[in-house]
Assembly symmetry: C2
């Protein structure tokens, strides 16, 4: 079921799964190792989070898929009876592990934990994710890096297509939705081609992969704006690894339904707290004597029970509770933000909501982003010179 | 109000404070820096914990007492509307800080955080604790170390008595109970003298200090057995820094009403979990595939939702949730243990309960204790040789 916004390409939808129905657009907190860092499943439920992400790569290496299967599957293992999506591990093999060697049959890689050697194929990625038992599972893809030459990116994209087909064929369980992942680097033609090939394979859902890797925001946005409209309208669209409230608003506007990112939980553990006026750093001395909560308009456990001064103290004292309270706040912020996004679509006022939100929200990421852009351009030049 | 057990010197009592009534014997979890490490106040309440301990030394150094006072006091600052006891900081000055210099007027010490110089006097210890606003506050005492010569221990004990009197005189708030602390090292005569002098000062409650510092258990027990009966029967008796279930049972038997220790929370963060059969190490490979909870008889959040295998995984993966779940379990264990202690006293069966409990409980601390005993004896010999 899909309902399109009256004033943009933003859309409302419902993911219907064996562990409940999830309204989209949705943001999924990340729990790579079968835990959203620093919070209990009960605390996630108290925020009303319906869907989280876990990771096949991490869980394969530790504790091992077989153990989780024996424990009754991932839902039971981590005490999460709501919806789970597992990533295939493709991205992690290409970002975390060392000495990978890609062949047509699969990829050899070294564990980032102990250096041990492993092999992952499209068939194995599906088998392992069937062992975990998530509601949505992902095809194994190849995620090109900036340093790759154009012909390498093209080859990786085409291999991703062949692997996608093999994943579909390998699937045995009928109660899991297997999503395909569109690749193609930052080349518009290859992105188009990738969307076309994957669409022809008739997956129940589609993801955009290989974006938001540190490239300039304009570049990401160009690729999203180009590719999202090519995905089948009646199926969910998932933008992997995104992200910040600003980036999510852009994605929603382009018709994206699902997002995931470590951002809200990771920045929380570094003292970065979301507010409607942008991200603040609670470690900053200006919060030392602030008797107000971080966000007086926020109803989360953290803001309804503790002052900014207390959070500041916990971070300065490096107390574990700091990470829990900050994470609870940022996840609540993201939950409320997505709820407002959905409401605005439902009421035909998404564009207004977006403009209002962005007018108030000043991202403290701006400087980080400028630095990233500079680095990306250097990489790009380096790559061009290698040609 | 006190009710003595029919079959031992164990007693039931009630601490009546501005933040509620606490049944004794009670074990207080430690939250030195205004947080019980790794858990929220809400989680503590869900266990039904009524009273916790915080620390004047830690909070004086960070964030500073004045900030907490401005934030409405310690209860409001840390969102704990139940009972709080603050230690004066005497023990921490003598165990954590460097370069201390004790004079009659007070003690100079260096912060263990940044090396900055500070001064604490009996009057200041009371003033600071009045700023924090705990329900029970402690007199500033001097805690002799093993290396101290007998005349130093005697001098420290006598100075502790003079400081105790100054603390009483310095007290301005009438809504806080100021407890005196009996010292005297491991000398029976000085312990007796200390109990007599402090009792004559008419504190509303009395603590035994300077015990359980790594000396052999027999030595601690001898001092407790000797001193506890000398404390006024109609006032609470508090054994500071104790401890393990076994040591608490011994204390209760000697008529002790209050206990505190970092043990259950600290060992939890290292993967040590209490069970009725003793302490287990969840990091041990034997738990890797255990689908049962750590303690199937335990009704805590951790045991009623997660397998031992999941906890094992969280510890191996160094996930923050490991520390939270382990802490919740150990604090629940201690809560239930104390509840059973109280029930057994109420029913006149404390001795039976103690024997039954100890028969099942095999402490994995045994080896640690043997090593500690050896070390203590060496220190003792060293000290004897110095005479």
């Amino acid at each position: 079921m899909i309902k399109t916004s009256a004033d943009s390409r933003a859309r409302l939808g419902w993911l219907i799964t064996p562990h409940g129905t999830v309204e989209t657009p949705v943001f999924m907190p990340v729990g790579s190792q079968a835990t959203v860092k620093g919070v209990t499943p009960l605390q996630l439920k108290e925020i009303d989070i319906r869907m989280i992400l876990a990771n096949n790569y991490h869980l394969y290496l530790r504790p091992g898929i077989e153990i989780i299967r024996k424990m009754g599957g991932l839902h039971k293992f981590m005490d999460w009876d709501r919806v789970i999506l597992t990533d295939s591990g493709g991205f992690q093999v290409f970002s975390l592990s060392r000495l990978r060697k890609i062949q047509e049959k699969g990829v050899k890689f070294q564990s980032h934990i102990d250096g041990s050697e492993h092999f992952l194929s499209p068939e194995l990625a599906v088998e392992l994710q069937e062992g975990l038992g998530a509601d949505v599972i992902m095809a194994l893809d190849i995620c090109p890096s900036f340093q790759d030459k154009p012909e390498q990116v093209r080859e990786a994209t085409q291999r991703t297509h062949r692997w996608a087909e093999r994943c579909l064929k390998a699937q045995k369980r009928s109660d899991q939705a297997l999503f395909g992942i569109v690749q193609g680097g930052f080349n518009m033609d290859w992105r188009k081609e990738s969307a076309a090939v994957l669409t022809s394979l008739d997956f129940p859902g589609y993801a955009l992969g290989g974006l938001s890797l540190g490239e300039p925001r304009e570049q990401t946005q160009k690729m999203i704006a180009l590719t999202a409209p090519l995905l089948p309208e009646n199926k969910p669209h998932y933008l992997m690894g995104v992200g910040s409230p600003e980036d999510i608003l852009f994605g929603v506007e382009q018709g994206i339904d699902m997002f995931d990112s470590v951002l809200p939980t990771r920045v929380a553990r570094n003292g970065g707290l979301y507010t409607l006026n942008g991200r603040i750093n609670i470690r900053n001395a200006r919060w030392k004597e602030s008797a107000q909560p971080v966000d007086p308009t926020c109803g989360c456990y953290t803001c309804s029970h503790f002052s900014a001064a207390y959070l500041h103290h916990l971070f300065k004292a490096e107390e574990l509770l700091a990470y829990t309270l900050a994470t609870l706040h940022n996840l609540s912020f993201m939950y409320n933000f997505m709820k407002q996004v959905r409401q605005s679509i439902s009421q035909g006022g998404f564009n207004c909501f977006k403009a209002d939100f962005l007018a108030g929200y000043q991202s403290s990421d701006e400087q980080v982003r400028i630095a990233q852009k500079q680095k990306w351009l250097e990489n790009w030049e380096q790559r061009e010179n290698q040609k």
